[in-house]
Amino acid sequence: MTATSPNQPLTPAVFHILLALSSGERHGYGIMKQVELDSQGNVNMGAGTLYGSLKRMLDAGLVKESARRIDPEMDDERRIYYQITGTGAKVLAAELERYKRIVTLAQERKIFPRTYGL
């Protein structure tokens, strides 16, 4: 289900989780909030989707659990943090490269202005 090879396209959930973790370690709630922020509120990931994707990403070695610690911005509970691995970073980079190629292609074909009014 989860892509382990950089050549495989990612599911939107996996892509957004990797993107959220690319700027630093986060706990589950932190990932949800970052995904919401990155997508400008368009992606509202539920716990079932987030942890279902995280499970497969952990199994595929795209992310790993890091040390438990207290989030200074929240209460004093020790939270489980997740971090992106080297493989995860490579997979994310490959996906972004793929997006870049598609955007370049769309610009070359002048699809943007006609379809999206940009």
Partner: protein, 267 residues
């Protein structure tokens, strides 16, 4: 209020317990933390909790179902089953699943029989709404999809074709009707409950059939690239009937909520 919060958290913990063992051991604690953080966020923002809690419970229940499917049916069979999430009988069943879990967990100490009729009623209301609205939503989404991609979406799977929806529904209805038979053919339950259930179902079938017939021209128009509002009278009938069943579902939930959360003598 504090009691409610701790009860909701305890219920969510119980719901997580339904995940496969591996999953639960690896991510269960983190899921609980995230749920608590989300509840805290809603409370701080003074936003209502019940709607949010219901959404999280349903979303998590679907996640649990998916994880079990991934374990028991690998490969193509699993993918086919995942596609059938869009089928009305299954959608309805998945939505009432959290309430069934709550009923089982919270009323286990009351020595009562499982209320099959209540859950059949809940399922039937949702089934009616999804049976009428899902084909319209699919046709509308396919139309939107075709605007950016000329390849038509493959919508029909094993359980979404009209024939298989009918068969699945009949199997579930027969199952619910047969359960009282287990109590004995000569019992009061058999003489009263079973005929009543069939009469009630026959009565409720009329608006469902009417809704499906009213939806047909809307679906046809959408598939042909027309507007959703091309048949205003039909749309009005569809909305009215769907609303009727939706209100029926919500009323049943509100009426039975004390029972779901474990209040003794709730009926």
């Amino acid at each position: 209020m504090a009691y409610d919060r701790s009860m909701i958290r305890a219920l969510y913990k119980k719901l997580i317990a339904f995940y496969p063992r591996d999953f639960k051991e690896q991510l269960g604690e983190s899921m609980e933390q995230t749920f608590n953080d989300l509840c805290q966020e809603k409370l701080q923002a003074k936003q209502p909790l019940p709607g949010f809690v219901l959404w999280v419970f349903i979303e998590t229940a679907i996640g649990i179902f998916k994880e079990h499917l991934l374990l028991i049916s690998p490969g193509v069979i699993m993918q086919t089953l995942l596609k059938t999430f869009g089928s009305p009988p299954l959608v309805s069943l998945l939505i009432i699943l959290p309430f069934m879990i709550m009923e089982i967990v919270n009323r286990r100490s009351f020595n009562e029989g499982f209320p099959f009729t209540l859950f059949f009623g809940l399922w039937l209301n949702l089934f009616a709404v999804s049976l009428i609205l899902l084909p319209i939503v699919r046709a509308w989404r396919a139309q939107k999809h075709d605007m950016v991609n000329s390849v038509p979406a493959k919508g029909d799977t094993l359980l979404i074709t009209p024939k298989s929806v009918l068969i699945t529904s009949l199997v579930i209805i027969l199952f619910v009707a047969i359960v009282p038979l287990l109590n004995g053919l000569n019992s009061e339950v058999f003489r009263i409950q079973v005929p009543n259930q069939f009469i009630a179902f026959a009565f409720l079938s009329l608006p469902i059939v009417l809704g499906m017939f009213a939806a047909k021209p809307i679906i046809r128009t959408l598939r042909a690239g027309g507007s959703l509002f091309a048949h205003p009278i039909h749309l009005l009938i569809v909305v009215a009937i769907s609303l009727l069943f939706a209100v029926g579902f919500v009323s049943l939930i509100l009426d039975q909520w004390p029972c779901f959360v474990g209040v003794p003598n709730c009926d």
